[in-house]
Amino acid sequence: MASVALTNLDPASRAAARGWSDLTIRNLFIIPTLVFLIVFNIFPLIYSLGYSFTNFAANRSEPWQFVGLQNYRELLSDDHIWSNFVITAKYVIVSVAGQMVVGFGLALLLNRSFPMKGLITTLLLLPMMMSAAVVGLFWQLLYSPSWGPINYVFGLGDFAWLSNPDSALYAVAITDIWMWSPFVMLLSLAGLSAVPQHLYEAAAIDRAGWWYTFTRITLPLVSPILLIALIFRTMEAFKTFDIAYTMTTQPTAELIAIRLYKQAFQQWDTGKSCALAYIVLIMVLAITNLYVKYLNKVKER
């Protein structure tokens, strides 16, 4: 009875008569947050939607003109922008695939009991907690062709990871894999530890091989959580700005977020960059939608 009363308080009850009503408290608790988010996230987006139809330039005082869909038309037919999207796609595929393989591999190795497991897991998680911009900057030294430890350890001589147009993007992706594989590892570990032990015992009794057990028991049961990691990392990799921006200036590593930053704050092509921001935004929202859908699915289980 009481639990029903709590969520749907009977207005005549004694508890409701004291102090503020539940309706007042609910509104008081929720509305400020919603208003804050609308004012500082949604309103700016409406504002920039307006500018995306103009030729406004924030560094000039000349009045702007309404240009209709011209910004969008120009952007979608601009080879440069398309190459930025292709670079971003390459980056997303390489770095997310790398993170999934390394992260899930680590989780499989860690999924057993051994001394100091907790400490080692926490140490492995350190890279993803750190500032991508600052750590990315330091990777410049690690990749350095003249005195970088990476070239020394792997005997690569003076291979210039970050200033070679062919390798810059992949060098950034490697750093991203280093940073974010632990994320996939953390989620995979949660998935692996949720697999009921009796299934493995049953498989052992049936003398099932390692590969059979892995593909028929482990993978199907862990795949929902792996999918969540995959979508989440795809979304984040698509938005990547800081790590690539501080690591290299190579045009071949110019991700779409960097392109957007340059167009808005270096070329001051404000109207057009608002339009580009909208194109990026729609893509991100599509992936977000997918993410939340799967998150809810996993939560229900």
Partner: protein, 318 residues
Amino acid sequence: MAAVRTSSEVAFNRIAIAAVLVATLIFLAPIYWIASTAFKPKELAVSVPPTVLFQPEVTPFIRLFTKRVQMQKPVDPQVYEAAPWWEKRIYDGGERVLKVGKDVQLSQYPDRFMNSLIVAVISTVLAVGMGTFTAYGFSRFKIAGEADLLFFILSTRMLPPVVVAIPMFLMYRMVGLNDSHIGLIILYVAFNLSFSVWLMKGFMDEIPKEYEEAALVDGYTRMQAFFKIVLPEAATGIAATAVFCFITAWNEYAFALIMTNRRAQTAPPFIPSQIGSGLPDWTTIAAGTFLFLLPVAIFTFLLRNHLLRGVTFGAIRK
């Protein structure tokens, strides 16, 4: 029976543990390189082959905190003798500490570090405060379109920072919030609020409703029950959420790069801007990076049991 293991299983187990140890060393190597470079003499930072073991020294930190005139000849012996120990270290390296009158001129690093601290702490308090109330509201009351509202809240977190920054930059310029602490704090609260709501809702959902019911029966008002029963129960969750929000605000780069340039600039855009042209002084950069990463490393250990929840917005718990 299940405990019986074949010898091949034992061997496999050992190989797996050895592989984990090797992987851990590889993952920690870049962090070790930052930490060790921060204590290296200048010439060892760029030595070939790279130096792993060396006599640590603190000159990178002295260089980090003082304004310097680089590559000056050693000053005259009397001045040298009168200088404090840490200045001598710098003179020994062939550099000069910049002084105006008797006062040593500090570099900009302490200011930028303080800016990071101010912005991260204040934005965390606000985001977690608002998030806790809102999470309680979503956890306990019936709300029309609850799932949609929660999705709306989460989606604000997913907006790419550069996309939001363009209109915010223009609006801030109109009201004079560019390069101000308040401007950056508002952006970080907006960014962390959705995260705080989602994470706190998970923690709130775990607090049994019976606790408040008992309090209401005992004559508490709903507000009293919230402050005296629910908040203390949620303390761990609030602390974990706060640390996550702090780390996010502390590490944030894009907004800080776009919105600040001097007065309110935080450490993340400042540290890369110090690299300049020519041969960078990696020991000083490493020292600045090391001090900047240290709080996050400590917090990661404090948070270790809540990391999973944190990175999935409270959706997946252990």
